[in-house]
């Protein structure tokens, strides 16, 4: 990365109405949110850092493993890293406790969804119900006008409609707009995503140039409260802590015609489209087609049956436009790593819709989010039913 490329970030276009006032920066201790702090400070903004304490790693000690502490959620290392950045750049920084909210709004629903045979997206709940709810409120209560985060996405105001719009990040490989569709107009109007215009390489370069102590810190890829990535183990340990034994949750694996072809040890072990871990040998590769939590059954079949054209969504949130009255064409993204596919969205009720894809899509999974785009603009998002 040459210096000339970097220099342009000192003159990033910014929204005029955000120029004054204190900005709170949500700091995880990672390179992205630390770079946000450095960037805002370079722009001459008064900032205060807030690091959320979300999950006590001393809980469920059997899950701690031998991994390095820095890959654990809310590990002291991450808190110290955030503090070190604040100290290096010389701005006030506080650790704030949201463990209660995080458990009630993210962890428990996550586990409940898995146990109900769905595949949840915890990061969306965390954004909608923790980061941009109690944290944003606290930011405003301590006197900040806005909350800036290290998300790769963009916000802009549409002068014609008067609405705040959510847009994909410039760096499509890092885009996190899939996790942000739940935000309200009020939340968007108070939020800043300064990395939305940058690539990951540019952010690293910026962190290095600012001599941030976290400039070389590796990225965390896993869900923050399941640092090992082993969801099944986490769900079992967490349920056990709540006094629920999953030992008796075993059930049948059936094919499309309902013939029992094997047994499973709990629907939380499965997600739609999954091939590995079915626990038995079959002539042709079989995939999880659907999960029936009522009958405690996992239904499997061949790959071509996994492709479907229609799904229904609920909890619909229209972000960048008013709720449309007629069916609407958009590109629908049904999981984080899914290439958005053209579809027709037909509103059914207050917050539900039918999504009909032009071509069949593989593994449309209940519990995941469907996010609808026009160009870079996020029109809406919803939960797949």
């Amino acid at each position: 990365m040459s210096m000339t490329t970097i220099a342009q970030f000192d003159f990033l276009p910014e929204r005029l109405e955000t120029r004054c006032g204190l900005v709170a920066v949500a700091m995880s201790g990672g390179v992205d949110s630390s770079a946000v702090a450095a960037l805002l400070q370079q722009q001459g903004r008064a900032i205060v850092g807030l690091t959320m304490q979300l999950w006590n790693q001393r809980r469920l000690p059997e899950l701690q493993g031998d991994g390095p502490a820095q890959h654990r959620c809310c590990s002291l290392d991450d808190v110290y890293d955030a503090k070190a950045v604040a100290q290096h750049l010389n701005f006030p920084h506080y650790v704030v406790n949201f463990e209660e909210q995080f458990e009630a709004r993210v962890v428990r629903p996550f586990v409940d969804q898995y146990l109900a045979g769905r595949t949840p997206v915890a990061c969306t709940n965390c954004n909608t119900d923790v980061k941009f709810e109690p944290l944003l409120r606290m930011a405003r209560q301590i006197g900040a006008e806005r909350l800036a985060t290290g998300h790769y996405a963009r916000i802009r105001r549409n002068d014609q409609t008067g609405r705040w719009e959510l847009l994909r990040a410039r760096d499509e490989t890092k885009d996190q707009s899939y996790f942000l569709w739940g935000l309200s107009q009020e939340q968007l109007s108070r939020s800043d995503f300064p990395l939305g215009e940058l690539t990951k390489q540019e952010v690293r370069a910026l962190a290095r140039r600012a001599n941030l102590p976290v400039a070389e810190k590796p990225e965390s890829m896993e869900l923050c409260f399941v640092p090992t990535g082993n969801y099944v183990q986490f769900i079992q340990a967490y349920s056990q802590e709540r006094g629920i034994s999953l030992q008796k949750e075993e059930g049948e694996i059936v094919n499309e015609s309902g013939d029992v072809i094997g047994r499973h040890d709990g629907v939380h072990n499965f997600t739609i489209g999954q091939r590995k871990g079915l626990g038995f040998a079959a002539g042709k590769p079989l995939y999880v087609l659907s999960i029936d939590p009522q009958k405690n059954r996992v239904i499997v079949g061949e790959d071509d049956v996994l492709r479907k054209t229609v799904c229904e969504v609920e909890g619909l949130n229209w972000i960048s436009c008013e709720t449309p009255s007629a069916p609407l064409r958009a590109f629908a993204k049904i999981r984080h790593k899914h290439e958005p596919a053209p579809a027709t969205i037909e509103p059914l009720g207050a917050a539900t819709a039918r999504v009909t894809f032009d071509t069949p899509q593989r593994a449309i999974t209940p519990g995941q989010a469907a996010v609808f785009y026009t160009g870079d603009v996020v029109l809406a998002g919803a939960w797949i039913r």
Binding site: L22, V79, N97, R137, M138, Q141, G143
Partner: protein
Amino acid sequence: MNRVYLDFNATTPVEPEVLDAMLPYFSAEFANAASIHTPGQRARAAVETAREQVAALIGARPQEIVFTSGGTESDNHAIFGIVNPLVSGPFPNLDKHDEFPPRRHVLSQHKHVITSAIEHEAVLNTCQALEKDGVAVTYLAVDRDGRVDPDVVRRAVQSGLSDPKTFSRTAPPPATSLISIMHANNELGTVQPLEEIGRIAKEADIYFHTDAVQSAGKIPIDVNVLQVDLLSLSAHKLYGPKGIGALYIRGGTRLRQLLYGGHHQRGFRPGTENVAGIVGIGKAAEISRKSLAEDAQRISALRDKLQQALLQRVPQSRVNAGGALRTPNTTNLVFPGVEGEALLIALDLKGLACSTGAACSSGAVEPSHVLTAIGLPPEEARASLRFSLGRHTTPADIDFALNVIPAAVAQLRELSPTYRKEATART
């Protein structure tokens, strides 16, 4: 930025006079107080002077004072020293030529401890560690002002004798070997009726420990009036340095060693003496003893002014433990509808330092066990803030606090969904 510090219960600055007294012992007078040579003897003399100064603050004899690394070590030493279910002996004598005969031996079957629910973690977690090893611990409840009722202490005492009715069927309950009740509470300021509890302990022939970290230098302490056998002190709460404390051990008390090493401090606390720190706690104790009455009067007047004005200017605010006898410098208020954590940060950004609850390892605030114990619902415990004044607090500091707190509370309430709901419900 103008910064006002109202968190003297967390720590205090080292008095310039204390610092001056300490400085030579880092360099010119660097010798080991255990050395035989002249420089060593000079360091020894400084240590012994400090021992006298600390003893004088609490009405003890110098040979009853052992220097430690601070309040936490003193509490651990007192509790583990009396109650250790796993190890027996050795019991070093505090003083070979002690005029007191050994008072009592603590035997391994003595396995019951009485403490309170609002102790500092240094006592609570030590007791919890004992519980894991089979010691029975009674955590006494407190009233809404944070007071321990002496009658409740009396009833909690176990003699170790079987109930005649069940004699043949059940093992006798473990006998109480230690009562540990703090002198003043760090969060509320509540002062416990130690004199009465001390009388109960003496009548029942049970060792009595008190954590006096928050009362020393704020209210008078006399170990013979309180009838305590063990008392913990910390220098940094009384304008001395951090990392040094003391444990008062009444002559004749049989206390197990916690650390093993050389013969320093007659085996009670091996390890080369922290001479500069010891000189610091000595000087700090001396200053505190002399200025205690005057400090208390001036500080309590400022505290009362702050408290009264906040009650007037912040709607619905209340004082926690306001009905109790309190240390003169502490007031704890609840501001309903406010997240204490957010208020603390908002005030800090305006230059006012105060405290809420107890900080955990990451620095995030956890709900206070003390406020929970006095019966506050969780949302009120989280809406509480502690202001603790110090020797150097000025009327201007209080004016500054009164300037920023009501405005900050109003701003927080404006953005609080719960407070708005409450307000609408009321109209």
